[in-house]
């Protein structure tokens, strides 16, 4: 009798314990007296270098600069890895908003996850600043009053690199495209720019994200006989495409156009393999004395120079906290209104401002990779070929597909 009761109690206790233990982490916590910034990005995959853990460090640098607290409330940064899965990103964002009282979400790399997080933020009426994701859909078809697209987008990349390459003589294009939101959008935007500039699109091939073997795709590209191989991919995929293209001798008959490249990619491949390539970016560590100073601080911690995304992570966090300080509230709508009123002047952007479609308008730079003999110090990789001032690189009102920006 005793034994039966004991075992019954034990097993029920176990069931209770199991469910409450695992669900307990889900207790609703009101963030009344803590300002929580959430950061969800690719921490371990093909985009880990260009944003990743170093991006989280950049955000923490911004928090430290504000003294770790704003208006008496402590500032806390939560970091999560979405592993390049949109459902993981969305689930984590939802959980953070529902149970952790996160006030603002910064979105890292991968456009699929960026779009998913933007939707969750819109549903929960919280501010979402997308830094790492490229897709221009965030400020067009999927624009939302709660989304700020901070660093760059596929339109800017297309207008920058696309035009430059066509002007330099690359008229016929073949695309090697990462098969998800980012790749398709970048291919579309670039195709439009190339055609408008008088070029032709010969064809394209899609490769899975984080592909292990590009040889088969490159063979297809080679048989197209186009002049330019447009790489509509990023991070590890771009590095591997360029390596494989060199191995297969594709570079003898076609020129490579890296439509999205970061300084980490150039560092990984080396100047010999990338010299002369054009790329469009929003920031360069060596741009001016202020950016240099901040980058040295970053270098001391991380042992590499920051990419534009990491600098943008810092800037976004800094601007958010400044706005919270200015109005004394962390209510998303009020903070966003304040941020839209304020010009952004920090090491990342000079005279930047947030437009009604959510784009953060700032200068973009067309840069060219230096040849090895021109590089004077480690990470000195670029010369600035052209500056797109103000709204020049971004979607115009005439082109926009955002329903609420008229």
């Amino acid at each position: 009798m005793k034994l039966k009761k004991l075992s019954a109690c034990l097993s029920t206790a176990f069931a209770l314990a199991a469910t409450t233990m695992f669900g307990a982490s889900a207790q609703a916590q009101v963030s009344g007296d803590v300002i929580k910034i959430g950061f969800i990005t690719d921490l371990s995959g093909l985009y880990a270098d260009i944003d990743g853990p170093a991006g989280a460090e950049a955000i923490k640098m911004a928090v430290a600069e504000m003294g770790g607290a704003v208006g008496g409330k402590k500032v806390e940064v939560l970091v999560a890895d979405h592993q390049n899965k949109a459902d993981v990103a969305a689930a984590k964002a939802r959980e953070w908003f529902d149970t952790q009282g996160v006030d603002m979400l910064i979105g890292g790399t991968n456009s699929g996850t960026g779009l998913a997080m933007a939707k969750v933020a819109q549903e929960k009426k919280k501010l979402f600043i997308s830094v790492g994701a490229a897709t221009s859909a965030l400020t067009n078809e999927q624009c939302s009053p709660y989304t700020v697209h901070y660093a760059y987008d596929t339109t800017a990349l297309a207008k920058g690199t696309g035009n430059a390459v066509v002007k330099a003589g690359g008229k016929s294009w073949y695309f090697l495209t990462a098969d998800y939101a980012f790749g398709s959008q970048l291919q579309n935007d670039t195709s439009a720019v190339v055609k408008a500039a008088g070029g032709t699109i010969v064809g394209s091939v899609r490769h899975p994200l984080s592909a292990s073997d590009f040889s088969s795709f490159l063979l297809q590209a080679q048989s197209s006989k186009a002049q330019i191989l447009g790489l509509a991919n990023a991070g590890g995929d771009t590095i591997n495409s360029i390596k494989a293209a060199n191995e297969f001798g594709i570079t003898k008959t076609m020129k490579l156009a890296g439509l999205l490249m970061f300084i980490n990619d150039v560092h990984s491949l080396g100047l010999k393999a990338t010299q002369g390539m054009y790329l469009t970016d929003s920031w360069y560590w060596n741009r001016d004395p202020e950016s240099r100073a901040w980058s040295r601080k970053f270098f001391e911690k991380i042992k590499r120079m920051p990419s534009s995304l990491q600098a943008a992570d810092y800037s976004a966090a800094l601007q958010y906290l400044s706005a919270v300080k200015a109005i004394g509230s962390d209510d998303s709508e009020k903070v966003l209104a304040q941020m839209k009123k304020t010009k952004i002047n920090d090491i990342y952007a000079k005279g930047g401002w947030i437009r009604d479609d959510g784009s953060m308008i700032h200068d973009m730079y067309l840069m060219q990779v230096k040849s090895p003999d021109k590089s004077t110090e480690p990470w000195d990789y670029y010369t600035v070929a052209e500056t797109f001032k103000g709204e020049a690189a971004w979607t115009t009102k005439a082109e926009t597909k955002c329903a609420t920006w008229k």
């Binding site: 019954a8 998913a116 939707k119």
Partner: protein, 320 residues
């Protein structure tokens, strides 16, 4: 104590524990458990129960069961989002789609027995995964996003997590009771006979392939139900829903909880989903290692799973 008395004590105790567990589930949103987590766990509990019907009660290892969850998830997702179906119709459609996939693959896989059956189901599931990867309507790597929750039967809005929770709980209870019903029916007895000794069942004149195929289709339909529900809950259908790692996880849930028991898969599902939710932030990639270790430990030393071991321990105590 006689075995008969021991058995009746066992039965009473099991009922007691079941009621207690159900009470917790019923009260969940009000005792501070996050509804979205609970709903996700319940969906995977349905998935594990469906899988257990096939493995625990019929003795068939379908190593690619995630394909049906994924197929239903995409079907429901698309129908609710693009064709504006109400959620219950979407879920029903998803369940039927999964059953259809189950029928086709079952017909192919049933040609081999034992371990080959497992390999064939895995390979076919992988094929379905690649189809989903390429097909335009699934959204590929980005998945099918923004599936609205809609209004149940056109009247009851499911936007509130708590309302949806009770709907999901109701479906779960229905599935749970349905499986108990099947297992205790004459059909279920034949399945048990097939699991114990297939050649003898054949010699007794049963069309074993027919029984196995029906069990397979039933199991895939219920797996589809789990996937459809999950899509309504999280608003998403992605490639992860059809990936082979999920196929492996459901095996683990069933094994860990207790193959061939009723509550086992439920406990296994909650444990694994809870572990993933709780530990993912702390340990990152090591979660896969942990799952792998649990697998190895279960196969070598814990084959009966929680409920199975508990029962065996009970019986040993009774006898002494």
């Amino acid at each position: 104590m006689s075995t008969a008395a021991a058995d009746s004590n066992l039965a009473r105790y099991s009922q007691w524990a079941l009621y207690a567990g159900f009470a917790i589930l019923l009260a969940a949103p009000f005792i501070g458990l996050y509804p979205v987590f609970m709903m996700t766990a319940l969906c995977f509990a349905i998935f594990a129960c469906a899988f257990n019907l096939l493995l625990g009660f019929t003795g068939l290892l379908s190593f690619g069961h995630a394909a049906y969850l994924g197929a239903a998830a995409y079907a429901t997702g698309w129908l609710v989002k693009e064709a504006h179906l109400t959620p219950e119709l979407g879920v029903l459609a998803g369940t039927l789609v999964a059953g259809l996939c189950g029928l086709v693959i079952g017909l192919i896989a049933i040609r081999r027995q034992g371990i080959y059956f497992a390999m064939v189901t895995l390979a076919m599931a992988q094929m379905i995964y690649f189809v989903f990867l390429q097909a335009p309507f699934t959204g590929g790597e980005d998945g099918l996003q923004g599936v609205p929750r809609g209004k149940l039967f056109g009247v009851l809005s499911l936007a509130d997590d708590r309302v949806l929770y009770y709907v999901v709980l109701a479906v779960f209870v229905a599935v749970f009771l349905f499986i108990i019903r099947i297992v205790h029916s004459p059909y279920g007895q034949v399945l048990k006979a097939i699991r114990e000794n297939e050649p003898r069942a054949i010699s007794l004149g049963y069309d074993v392939d027919r029984y196995k195929l029906l069990a397979f289709v039933l199991s895939t339909m219920l797996a589809g139900l789990a996937g459809s529900l999950k899509t309504v809950v999280v608003g998403f259908a992605t490639l992860s829903d059809a990936h082979w790692s999920l196929s492996g996880e459901v095996v683990l849930m069933t094994l860990l909880g207790g193959m061939g028991t009723f509550a086992g898969p439920v406990i296994g599902a909650f444990t694994i989903i809870g572990l993933q939710n709780f530990l993912a932030d702390q340990v990152g990639s090591w979660i896969n290692v942990i799952i792998g270790v649990i697998f190895v430990v279960c196969v070598v030393a814990f084959r009966r799973g929680f409920v199975g071991e508990l029962r065996a321990w009970q019986l040993r105590r009774k006898k002494s």
